[in-house]
């Protein structure tokens, strides 16, 4: 009897000893944590979203993607920031108002320093050095890294090379040529009296999207937001730089583009945001557009575009100031303060932006704009995208990130300027009127904020 007891006890002990590592291994590093992502969908990110399951399986965390329209996302986030009670723990961070929202994000400096190793071996190869430093720096405010970039765009001129060849039009390199090209290519192609192809379209709708447009347009004419080109809060304060949005350069820019778009743009252009511009181009209704350079990918994707293979990308035309129309924009992901499961959130961001993960979406998603220079310069990229890839690099080189200043109160002046832009293009106000009003209002905002004390 006693022998039996001893044997059974030994067997149980052996079983326990064997099972402990097995049980230990079954406990995944982020088990039980939930990552709730709030962002807007982009077709270039779809391949990454399809492989999120790998992340979940490896780490044991659950990922919930809450994707909705851009303005819905921003509303949602505004509310969560306002109530300091975020439901989402991975959220969109736009570059142009990163200063504004810096107090609402958890600084990632410590995470990057300590936790760069993947939480599960082989899961990702995150290394902060892989990123293009200029994009990383944009998400760095006063030394706090509040987000990691996953997307960048700069202005590009998209044009239908078949139309340009057919009608023997030169690809514009300055604004006079731009106007001519737009005029020549606003056509009625089937003789029924209705114009089928419009020369050019650009975003003009009220809202933050067009803020980049109008600033970039003014920049190309030599205009700046503030006197002397002050571009950071510190500079503005030190130089007491007043707004200069009603300077001759701004008025000229608005006049030119107002003219261009109202005469040679599609009828509804004052309500166009980027989805509408893209749609028109993909439908074959536009000869040109000036918008995010990476659009050339979707434009040539036969699954989406009717004019696949016919759209080329060029550096936008130079304005009289000798500068190129700008529209640089970087998107990133950050963790809002007060969010739950921050560890899992960080691991997700790491995995999402890591070079190996991004690499897997380049060809299937036509993702022309990874934030990792190594990927753009790789042979695969060159082989897959060839000429377009070169154009992307050219536009990136022509980019000038100073075109928009960065300071905390930026939302209001942006909105005021976009209002002016929208009014001018719709023909409701003259450029002088609109910009003089804008100047007054922006001056009021800046004075209230105490910049000129």
């Amino acid at each position: 009897m006693l022998r039996r007891v001893i044997v059974v006890t030994i067997m149980v002990l052996i079983a326990l000893i064997i099972s402990v590592p097995v049980l230990g291994a079954a406990e995944k590093p982020l088990q039980g944590q939930v990552v709730v992502v709030c962002n807007w969908p982009m077709s270039i990110l779809d391949p990454v979203h399809k492989i999120i399951k790998e992340f979940e399986d490896a780490t044991g965390a659950r990922v919930l993607l809450d994707l909705m329209g851009e303005s819905a996302v921003r509303e949602r986030l505004t509310m969560e920031f306002a109530t300091k009670n975020p439901v989402h723990n991975v959220v969109l961070l736009d570059c142009w108002n990163s200063e504004e929202l810096k107090d609402y994000f958890v600084p990632l400096n410590d995470f990057i320093a300590q936790k760069s190793k993947p939480v599960v071996n082989g899961l990702d190869d995150f290394n902060i050095q892989d990123f293009d430093p200029s994009y990383v720096n944009i998400m760095n405010v006063d030394g706090q890294q509040i987000g990691l970039p996953y997307y960048w765009e700069v202005a590009g001129l998209h044009y239908r090379k078949d139309l340009f060849e057919k009608y023997n039009v030169k690809v514009p390199t300055n604004i006079d040529e731009l106007l001519e090209a737009a005029k020549k290519l606003t056509l009625d192609t089937n003789g029924d009296g209705i114009i089928d192809i419009y020369g050019i379209a650009m975003r003009s709708v009220r809202g933050e999207d067009s803020g980049l447009m109008c600033s970039g347009a003014a920049w190309s004419f030599g205009g700046t937001w503030f006197e002397g080109g002050a571009a950071t809060a510190k500079e503005i304060r030190e130089k007491k730089a007043r707004p200069s949005v009603n300077s001759k350069q701004w008025i000229d820019a608005f006049t030119f583009y107002g003219n261009l778009l109202s005469n040679y743009g599609p009828p509804g252009v004052t309500s166009y945001s980027w989805p509408e511009v893209m749609r028109d181009m993909e439908e074959g209704k536009l000869a040109m557009d000036i918008d995010a350079n990476y659009f050339v990918g979707p434009y040539n994707d036969p699954k989406i575009s009717k004019v696949a293979g016919k759209v080329s990308l060029a550096v936008p035309p130079k304005g009289p100031g000798g500068r190129v129309n700008q529209h640089g924009f970087v998107c990133g992901l950050g963790i809002p303060k007060g969010a739950k499961d921050q560890e899992a959130a960080w691991e997700f961001i790491k995995w999402y932006t890591a070079k190996s993960t991004v690499a897997r979406s380049i060809i299937p998603g036509m993702r022309l704009n990874p934030c990792h220079p190594a990927l753009i310069e790789s042979d695969e990229y060159k082989k897959a995208f060839g000429e377009i890839g070169d154009a992307m690099l050219a536009t990136a080189a022509a980019a000038d990130w100073e075109y928009m200043p960065r300071f905390p109160e930026i939302s209001q002046p942006t909105f005021i300027l976009v209002d002016a832009w929208s009014n001018v293009i719709a023909g409701i106000k003259t450029p002088e009127e609109a910009l003089n009003e804008a100047q007054k209002e922006i001056l009021k905002v800046m004075t209230e904020a105490g910049y000129y004390k």
Partner: protein, 294 residues
């Protein structure tokens, strides 16, 4: 007057409208006017539903494609883009049904109290109830979010039900007050004197007479609850999300896919359309019985 006599006069009232309206439907001009109005009323709805069955390319073509082979590809994409959609549908149904039941009960009780009992400040109370309708949604959104966060009501069906009740009580109380005021007190009085307990009176006399009004008000509430967007969007994420609140998910991508948008919209509105088809009759009948007198 007795209960049955009262019912007879009600029925008689429905017959008399010829004299008042003074027109007959078969008049040619009015027929044409009605047809034109009907086309205007129906066309946008028709267009949304039809677009849901087109392909991505067909949905954009001008001149539009009138005859085409219907496909379900847009619907498939809806469920691909939103894995939550099925749950949203059940949430919509559950939240609407419970909200309407509770609103109708609570609202009718309050309306009865205001109609039958001489309360001090009953006028103020009924105006207060109306005033809950005055505030714009934006005034409510942030405070509600804060309260709900504190009580853990975010993304719960209970939270949505509470919000729906709050929104719909004003209309319910005002409508039902008129209904109850139309029912002659003498009928209740007679029964009470005969010794029936108060609640019995309500159950056997008042409620049956008020039933058309209750049904009509409940129908309105159902429509309002099903279509409610602002609170549903702000106060839910995944678990308790309802159909209208899921719509913004389809509103932005590289290319606005009208077919998918229409498909999602169709799924949101079709239950209500079916509902309306069956209950339209009760709506008018209920409103007639004095509900509108306020």
């Amino acid at each position: 007057m007795s209960y049955t006599m009262y019912k007879r006069t009600l029925n008689a009232n429905r017959e008399k409208v010829h004299i008042i309206a003074g027109k007959r439907l078969m008049n040619m001009v009015s027929m044409i006017a009605l047809l034109v109005a009907a086309i205007i009323a129906l066309f946008p709805i028709y267009w949304v539903i039809v677009s849901a069955f087109k392909t991505e390319k067909e949905v954009f073509i001008m001149p539009p494609v009138w005859i085409f082979v219907p496909t379900m590809q847009a619907f498939k994409k809806v469920f691909e883009m939103s894995s939550n959609f099925g749950r949203c549908m059940t949430n919509s149904i559950i939240v609407t049904v419970i909200s309407v039941i509770l609103t109708t009960i609570i609202g009718s009780m309050a309306a009865y109290g205001l109609a039958r009992f001489r309360l001090k400040g009953s006028k103020d109370i009924s105006f207060y109830m109306l005033s809950t309708r005055f505030a714009p949604a934006i005034g409510f959104v942030i405070p509600f979010y804060l309260i709900y966060m504190r009580f853990g009501l975010i993304d719960t069906r209970l939270g949505l039900i509470l919000a729906n009740i709050t929104i719909n009580l004003s209309f319910t109380v005002w409508m039902m007050k008129g209904v109850f005021e139309e029912i002659p007190v003498a009928l209740e009085e007679a029964a009470l004197i005969d010794g029936m307990p108060r609640f019995g009176v309500i159950r056997t006399i008042t409620l049956p007479l008020a039933r058309p009004g209750i049904v009509a008000t409940a129908i309105f509430s159902t429509i309002m609850c099903w279509n409610e967007f602002v609170f549903a969007f702000t106060l839910t994420q995944f678990n308790a999300r309802t159909l209208p609140a899921e719509m913004p998910r389809f509103l932005s991508a590289n290319n606005i896919q009208w077919d998918v948008l229409s498909a999602a919209g169709t799924l949101v509105i079709v239950p209500m359309l079916i509902f309306a088809f069956f209950v339209q009759r009760y709506l008018i009948r209920g409103l007639t019985l004095g509900a509108v007198k306020g």
